[in-house]
Amino acid sequence: MYICYTFAKCPALSISMNIFRKILQFYIDGFRDMKVGKKLWLIILIKLFIMFAILKVFFFPNFLQTNFDTDEERGDYVLEQITKTNKEE
């Protein structure tokens, strides 16, 4: 089996790395040249921070995941909830 130890000795790996570098450079140049985009990215990051670091953590725990350990318990609980009759009156 042939093992590549350096890029020079392994053309396939070298080509893959070049493609990866090109893609990376494409994104770096794209972000660098943004005008309105910089402000929008700031809004996106703030928004995602509020959503995932504040709302999800402090206000939106998954009710069934946090209160029960197994799917069987969750199923039993929901079954109990949905078979409560006379909910309306």
């Binding site: 972000f31 309105v36 709302l55 199923g75 079954l79 009759t85």
Partner: protein, 513 residues
């Protein structure tokens, strides 16, 4: 309401409604504008005309702003499913799992990969690859919409599943029945075409503003042409899918259909109310009863719309509640009885299974299966509590249809004036086009109001009402998050409008090409 905290139900509904409506402010523009941009870029690639490149770039800027502000606002809805609607999430879990997973894997990655190429690709990738990326962004964003709309359609018309009484979950038995149910297909087509119409109105409205300001006239006229032609074709398709949707609602959600028309007493040769004003007229039977103070009707049209037969009988709210033997309509009273049998049988089945009584479990299971179709009715005693808000549904439906028809005329006039007259001198038409932008958003929201208010009290049609879908949590926490969302989303909306207006004004100051 002895077993349930109705404040919790109401606040949970208000919170979900608020987030869904704000989310839907951002989504339709993304769905439609992505295709308009792809069309504009196609013309640029084909002609090599630099003005088309500038036009494409301008609309891409507005698309980017809307995309950035709106992206991930839908995730909030998924948070709410887990926290506020856990019974519902569990009940439907296996059905929703597949479409939403496909959305995440396929559409989201397709969209997010190619959107970078679309925005960063000018001069860096070949024109053809850039164009392909533009089309893939459009297709990807619309595919995202497909899966969530399939999930919504299943809630309106649950098919392709069976309820597992041991796990308390609905399990998918046929993916294709869920994906290709007539409700899903129609909902998808009607929703995306309405989004295309909104986007087209957005394009011609802003172009009209350029013309009114006498800035970048050729730029504005070309944008308007694409917007108007795209909008006209989309409107025609939207009206066709809307017509088909009405028939589906008539078949699968007759109470919603009756509410959409404010029809209390059914009739053959039913007329369609074109314009009407409703007022409350409580009766001893129904304290929420409303009736028309004034209405303008077209004879037989409602019967034709519902069943393609001008003589067809269209059941009203009272027919559905009291039943109508002549037309084979089962009363809500009977459905309530069957629902109660199903609920009791499910409870007994569970108990018999736990006690190891297989014979009783088998009998109760059969009883449950025979009556499961009306399971949700069993939570109610008074059928009038299962009537949606009739005036709200009626007004929302007529607002949506009225504005949709108005847009058809707007697109036709714009195309006519672009080709046969001088649209620059038709200031009245430009003002109408400009003011059509808020109307498009109103119509779009009204459409969802018809779909969601009209189907109340159901979260899953006939099977699960909202009151049994909510989690058993403190309603005060829901109020807190409602306020947080109201502030966050309003801030995002203000930011979007402000950044967009800045860009529009900035582009209007560029000298004519």
């Amino acid at each position: 309401m002895e077993n349930f905290d109705m404040a919790l139900v109401d606040w949970s509904r208000a919170q979900f409604g608020l987030t869904a409506m704000y989310h839907w402010i951002f989504v339709p523009l993304t769905l439609g504008l992505s295709f308009i941009i792809a069309i504009m870029m196609s013309i640029y690639v084909r002609t090599g005309d630099e003005l088309w490149k500038k036009i494409t770039k301008f609309w891409m800027t507005l698309f980017g702003i809307n995309f950035a502000i709106g992206v991930a606002t839908g995730i909030i809805l998924e948070f709410e499913f887990g926290t506020n609607w856990s019974n519902y999430s569990w009940f439907v879990g296996d059905i929703f799992g597949a479409p939403l997973a496909i959305e995440g894997i396929l559409a989201f990655f397709l969209e997010s990969t190619f959107i970078a190429i679309l925005f960063f690709g000018w001069g860096r990738v070949s024109k053809k690859f850039h164009l392909v990326s533009a089309w893939l962004v459009a297709i990807g964003s619309n595919l995202s919409a497909l899966w969530i709309l399939v999930a919504n359609a299943w809630m309106q018309n649950p098919v392709g599943m069976t309820f597992n009484p041991d796990t308390a979950r609905n399990e998918m038995t046929n993916f294709w029945d869920v994906l290709l149910s007539p409700t899903a297909v129609n909902k998808f087509l009607h929703t995306i075409t309405s989004a295309y119409v909104l986007s087209a109105i957005f394009v011609i409205g802003i172009s009209a503003w350029f013309i009114l300001k006498k800035r970048r006239i050729i730029f504005a006229k070309r944008s308007m042409l694409i917007g108007a032609v795209f909008g006209l074709l989309s409107t025609l398709f939207m009206l066709m899918t809307g017509d088909e949707s009405a028939r589906q609602v008539f078949r699968d959600q007759p109470m919603k259909f009756a509410a959409m028309e404010g029809l209390y007493d059914g009739e053959a040769n039913a007329p369609l109310v074109v314009i009407g004003f409703m007022q409350k007229k409580p009766t001893s039977e129904n304290p929420k009863n409303a009736d028309f103070a004034f209405k303008l009707e077209i004879p037989n049209l409602l019967s034709y719309m519902a069943a393609l037969d001008p003589n067809a009988f269209v059941p009203g709210i009272h027919d559905l509640i009291r039943g109508n033997e002549e037309y084979g309509i089962i009363s809500y009273y009977e459905k309530i009885n069957m629902g109660k049998i199903a609920i009791t049988a499910l409870s007994n089945y569970k108990e018999a299974k736990e006690n190891g009584d297989k014979a009783l479990a088998s009998i109760e299971l059969q009883k449950f299966r025979d009556n499961y179709k009306y399971f949700g009715y069993g939570y109610y005693n008074d059928p009038y509590n299962m009537v949606p808000n009739v005036p709200l549904t009626f007004y929302a439906f007529h607002t949506m249809v009225g504005i949709g028809v108005l847009f058809l005329l707007v697109f036709i006039f714009v195309i006519y004036f672009l080709f046969k007259k001088d649209i620059v001198r038709a200031r009245w038409l430009n003002y109408i086009a400009l003011w059509s932008i808020p109307l498009a958003y109103i119509a779009s929201q009204a459409g969802w109001m018809v779909a969601e208010f009209g189907r109340q009290p159901w979260v899953v049609q006939d099977l699960m009402p909202t009151l049994s879908a909510v989690s058993n949590i403190d309603h005060k926490s829901v109020i807190i998050t409602f306020v947080i969302f109201a502030i966050t989303f309003t801030t995002l909306l203000i930011a979007e409008i402000k950044i967009m207006l800045t860009q529009i004004v900035k582009h209007s100051k560029i000298e004519e090409d």
